[in-house]
């Protein structure tokens, strides 16, 4: 199949007709909107309307406002924390599912178990953390009944912590999947050979397993980053409006018809994403690895 290159001759090719609808769709409804965000970020905003006179006002507004710049830092901080946690929590699980479980069936069952929660609405899964983490929530009740604490921990809900917990739980699977996939492709003989040479598990892990699973880590990190950076629902539902991410700002700005400011934040988010994804792709050459 793959050895047939496109014929150079005059035989009519269906390729343009097959590819055109998708490409046109993506240009009209993906590229054009993103270009629009950049363009509108330079428009002039008055109280309830906007016109296309170009100005830097909204940009100046963004960088001179502590709240907005603060949201940028909060976004970056939360992203780093969640990225770190999904990696730390997800990697051991992936190690077990992808490498240590010998039976293919068990490994598949475990992966399916990880995916099943996704069949519940994303928003309801977020919401379900409220009765878990609240002052009278499940965790506090269990801890108090066990006698570990005397007073309910209030910081669990409507804080940055609850947002971090919620996001980690929702996105950790996107880290586990790619890593488990890469670990599953490691040739077991290499590990056996290293063991025969007297290498301990720690050494094998650092020298063989971790480097070979790096492409999976990078893909997982890209997934998690893209989703966390664009988040606003989890922070909205679990922080009690205390945590404002770039996404939350966009939502509130659009809600008050401040399209120009929403666009500025959109451009900043796009640039941030671009830097993050490009950075990850520099670590590992995915085209070669996958």
């Amino acid at each position: 199949m793959s050895d047939t290159t496109a014929p150079k001759g005059k035989l009519k090719s269906a390729t343009p007709w097959l590819i055109a609808p998708g490409v046109v769709w993506m240009i009209l409804f993906l590229v054009a909107p993103i270009v629009m965000i950049i363009y509108v970020s330079f428009w002039t905003q008055s109280t309830f309307s906007i016109d296309s006179t170009l100005t830097l006002a909204s940009w100046k507004n963004f960088f001179s406002s502590e709240a907005y710049v603060g949201a940028l830092w909060t976004t970056i901080r939360l992203w780093l924390i969640v990225l770190f946690l999904t990696f730390i929590i997800g990697y051991p699980a992936a190690l077990f599912v992808g490498l240590l479980v010998k039976s293919k069936t068990v490994s598949t069952v475990l992966l399916v178990l990880c995916v099943i929660p996704f069949w519940t609405s994303f928003l309801i899964r977020v919401l379900a953390w409220r009765p878990m983490l609240g002052k009278e929530g499940a965790i506090n009740i269990i801890l108090m009944k066990a006698g570990i604490i005397a007073q309910p921990i209030e910081v669990l809900l409507f804080s940055e912590l609850s947002v971090v917990i919620g996001m980690t739980q929702i996105y950790v699977v996107f880290m586990v999947g790619p890593i488990a996939f890469m670990l599953g492709r490691i040739d077991r003989n290499i590990i056996e050979a290293a063991r025969d040479l007297g290498a301990g598990f720690g050494r094998i892990f650092w020298k063989i397993i971790l480097p070979l699973s790096m492409p999976g880590v990078v893909v997982g990190a890209i997934f998690v980053s893209v989703m966390v950076l664009g988040e606003f629902a989890t922070s909205g539902a679990l922080s009690g409006r205390k945590v404002n991410l770039l996404g939350n700002i966009i939502v509130t700005q659009v809600g008050s018809l401040k399209w120009a400011m929403a666009s500025v934040v959109g451009v900043i988010l796009t640039v941030l994403l671009g830097i993050v994804v490009a950075g990850f792709l520099r670590i590992v050459d995915l085209k070669r690895e996958l």
């Binding site: 047939t4 290159t5 014929p7 150079k8 001759g9 035989l11 009519k12």
Partner: protein, 360 residues
């Protein structure tokens, strides 16, 4: 070749994959109602050639003619040329009957239902699969799959059928039987078979005409005995796997090789000096026998029965294997001692000599 009798013709057909020329200006003409074998080693471009004729691929340059019509720009489904794949390429979601009926049902020309039924049964009968019509494609053996592939193609009554190593996926026993059957089936119908193979035995056994392909070029074509008796180049001789080939120096009338200097009546023009002697022309003598012609000292290594003949393997002083074939119809096989030296000789008139300064 008679123009009226030609079924297809290739004119300077070239096809490039990246930097590699799979087909390099091929000129070839095939006459109607014939069995043509196309022999070539892997990478010689033989599959590309079939794919270009079938219309699966476009040549970069050159024209393809079929039944007097230039079909270079005609898409595959409008060519009316059958194709039998090495991997059979049966439709896995259809039964044997529906596989065979597929072209009749879905072709451009509407065929009435009862005609489809009768033609399909006839085709299945012809390839000897009667009774298996309702089987799925996974419930039949490799040989049966090949027959379905053949029936599916022949039911469309094409004038030309291209077979891409059709016996390659079958085991040796089945291969021999299918060789005979393929020839028999073709002879019943007015159709040309172009059969691509990497096996010289298959090519020589099956083809009325044999064409030898190397590095994207047809280097010789003719009937099998022509090719067998008079390979046009050292490469053809090599592919036929019937000749001992010796390097040496050819002058106008002699050839100097490991067997000494020998007079050569004819030297054919070639890119290098090569002396070729067919396996079955080589005779084995004991050391010290009086030998008139060329004499090659060689150590006996092993023998192998090939049905009607036996093949003796010798090793010459330079480490090269030299083979001598003895037809059992000419007498009982000799017992040679492994490791012992013998002298190999032959009638120089039967050798084929290629030289850079040769004639033609």
């Amino acid at each position: 070749m008679n123009q009226m009798n030609s079924i297809f013709r290739l004119e300077g057909v070239s096809r490039q994959y990246g930097d590699v020329a799979a087909l390099d200006g091929i000129n070839f003409e095939a006459s109607n109602n014939e069995y043509i074998s196309l022999l070539g080693p892997s990478g010689s471009g033989k599959t590309s050639l079939l794919r270009v004729i079938a219309g699966f691929e476009k040549p970069d340059s050159g024209r393809v003619w079929f039944e007097g019509r230039d079909i270079t720009d005609v898409p595959a489904h409008e060519r009316g040329i059958g194709f039998v794949f090495q991997n059979f390429a049966l439709f896995p979601h259809l039964t044997v009957f529906e596989n065979v009926a597929f072209g009749l049902r879905n072709g451009i020309k509407e065929v009435p239902q009862d005609e489809i039924t009768s033609r399909v049964f006839e085709a299945i009968e012809m390839v000897g699969l009667a009774g298996l019509e309702d089987r799925g494609t996974e419930q039949i053996s490799g040989g049966q799959k090949q027959r379905v592939a053949l029936a599916r193609t022949l039911v469309m009554q094409p004038r030309l059928v291209l077979l891409d190593e059709p016996l390659g996926a079958l085991d040796a026993n089945l291969r021999d039987r299918m060789q005979t059957e393929l020839r028999a089936i073709r002879e019943k119908l007015d159709v040309t078979f172009l059969h691509v193979t990497g096996s010289e035995t298959e090519a020589l056994a099956m083809g009325d005409t044999v064409a030898v392909l190397d590095a994207g070029k047809v280097i010789q074509s003719g009937n099998s005995s022509e090719i067998y008796d008079a390979p046009a180049s050292p490469d053809v001789a090599l592919f036929l796997n019937r000749f001992n080939l010796f390097d040496g120096v050819a002058t106008g009338t002699t050839f100097r090789g490991p067997f000494g200097q020998v007079a050569t009546p004819v030297v054919r023009k070639a890119s290098r000096d090569v002396y070729a002697i067919r396996y079955d022309r080589v005779q084995v003598f004991n050391m010290g026998d009086a030998i008139p012609g060329p004499a090659l000292d060689a150590r006996y290594v092993a023998s192998e029965y090939l049905g009607s003949s036996i093949m003796y393997f010798f090793e010459a002083a330079d480490g090269k294997t030299v083979e001598a074939e003895h037809h059992l119809s000419f007498g009982d096989p000799q017992d040679y001692k492994v490791g012992q030296h013998y002298v190999l000789s032959w009638d120089p008139a039967q050798a084929i000599v290629f030289g850079q300064e040769g004639a033609e």
